[in-house]
């Protein structure tokens, strides 16, 4: 293998370049990304990037690994059998091996109304545009109640905006933390001044060029100045069409991170859907910061043939969210949990919570309580060692 294309130049792309070098690859690496910035880290975009005038270099990731970076170039097509990608400037690049690291793009609402004043938050440019809109006294509508939605709510309150959260679920962050913890965190956000309209959906925006209000499906009309559409992301896989791949919700991989149906391609980061024997045999995408590095390491090892296929890949998902001046830190896949147990503390202060599926530990998270969280994290890893692969 002489020439590897890394498609995507964000965290997962960078970690792939580094991992290929760390696994001893001395050939040519070309990393291609549609954003104009060198690799940067996204977690601050919903936090300090919105609340401070943090300079660009605060989010850039330092690196030394050698590669040719083609930034601001979008890959528009790929012929896997022929080993070639097509770029938006009409040029093409040949490869012996391909690392798919194109990540996600933010979904948008498709309801009627003006587009002015409506934002998503995925890229550095998105964060810059939104930061400029969070002026004190403005009313910010956040559609969605995910971790990122709640982080933006917290940041907007810190900028003295009025904040309204509208989402279909009954509690914020429901899928991750469950109803009880979600309700407790909702109470904290409410005490911080956030107004919730849960169990509802926006059906229409008011205004001519710019949003001035929103109408919800329960008939409620609210005046708003700024909208943040935090309604999830879609995998960026259009460019892979025509290669007989399973592109349903990302790129389907086996447990070695090889793309199923190919001999020369691996996928990494948010875009990769792969089974993790730590939990079960169901392929899933894991949208966590640390997963970019974990999958990049394994994918590079598999692509170069230096990590044997029979060695199971069992990365422990690790996640965190900073909001309301505290950090929620966790491990595992809380979305798999059927029931949650309070291990220590109380939900209105510091706490550790364990999530179980059929009496098997699948997740732990908490605010503070580092020792309890850490102990359960070890338990999660140990249960994996004992489980059949």
């Amino acid at each position: 293998m002489d020439r590897i294309i890394v498609a995507g130049a964000s965290l997962a792309g960078l970690r792939s370049v580094e991992s290929l070098r760390a696994h001893g690859f001395h050939g040519e690496i070309v990393a291609i990304g549609d954003e104009t910035h060198p690799p940067y880290t996204r977690p601050p975009l919903s936090k300090t990037s919105l609340t401070t005038s943090a300079p660009l270099d605060e989010v850039l990731i330092p690196y030394t690994a050698e590669a040719t970076w083609k930034l601001g170039r979008k890959i528009v097509g790929c012929n896997l059998d022929g080993g070639r990608v097509a770029l938006d400037d009409g040029s093409s690049e040949d490869f012996d091996g391909l690392v798919i690291a194109t990540g996600l793009r933010a979904r948008r609402l498709t309801i009627p109304g003006p587009v002015g004043g409506r934002h998503v938050l995925r890229t550095l440019e998105d964060a810059r545009e939104l930061a400029g809109e969070l002026q004190p006294g403005r009313t910010v509508l956040i559609v969605g109640a995910s971790f990122i939605a709640c982080e933006v709510a917290s940041s907007a309150r810190a900028r003295n905006c009025r904040v309204i959260v509208v989402a279909p679920e009954d509690h914020p962050m429901l899928r991750v933390v469950g109803a009880e913890v979600g309700a407790a965190l909702q109470a904290r956000h409410a005490a911080d001044g956030v107004e919730f309209h849960l169990g509802t959906l926006p059906v229409r925006f008011e205004g001519t060029d710019r949003v001035t209000g929103v109408v919800l499906n329960d008939g409620t009309e609210l005046p708003v100045d700024v909208v943040v559409e935090a309604v999830g992301c879609s995998p960026s896989v259009d460019w892979l069409a025509g290669n007989r791949l399973d592109l349903t919700d990302g790129v389907l991989c086996d447990n070695t991170m090889r793309v199923i149906g190919t001999g020369n391609a691996v996928a990494v980061g948010d875009v990769a859907r792969f089974p993790n024997p730590l939990f079960d045999t169901v392929p899933r995408r894991i949208e966590h910061w640390t997963m970019a590095g974990d999958t990049a390491d394994r994918a590079a090892g598999s692509l170069l043939g230096v990590v044997p296929d029979h060695v199971p890949f069992t990365p422990l998902p690790s996640f965190w969210s900073d909001q309301l001046g505290v950090r929620i830190q966790g491990f595992g896949v809380p979305a798999l949990a059927e029931e949650y147990t309070l291990v220590s503390g109380s939900l209105d202060a510091d706490f550790a919570v364990a999530g179980y599926r059929e009496n098997t530990l699948v997740a732990v998270f908490g605010i503070g309580r580092r020792r309890d969280v850490s102990r359960l994290r070890t338990e999660l890893l140990d249960s994996a060692v004992n489980s059949p692969v």
Partner: protein, 62 residues
């Protein structure tokens, strides 16, 4: 190998403690402590710790 942790950048994620527990730890006050000149046998783990630090606060000099 010499390790530096930029404690201005550090946000207390604790990922380094999981990646290289023989080098990084929390003391009884929940403050990060580390061996600034660990044995070379720890290199791979320390490199992993630097890579998983969400704020790139760890630098390694050989």
């Amino acid at each position: 190998m010499k390790i530096t942790v930029d404690m201005v950048k550090c946000e207390d994620h604790g990922q380094c403690v999981f990646a290289a527990p023989d080098v990084f730890d929390y003391n009884d006050d929940d403050t990060l402590v580390w061996d600034s000149e660990p044995a070379d046998t720890q290199l791979a783990k320390v490199q992993h710790a630097a890579a998983v630090c969400p704020v790139s606060a760890i630098t390694i000099e050989s």
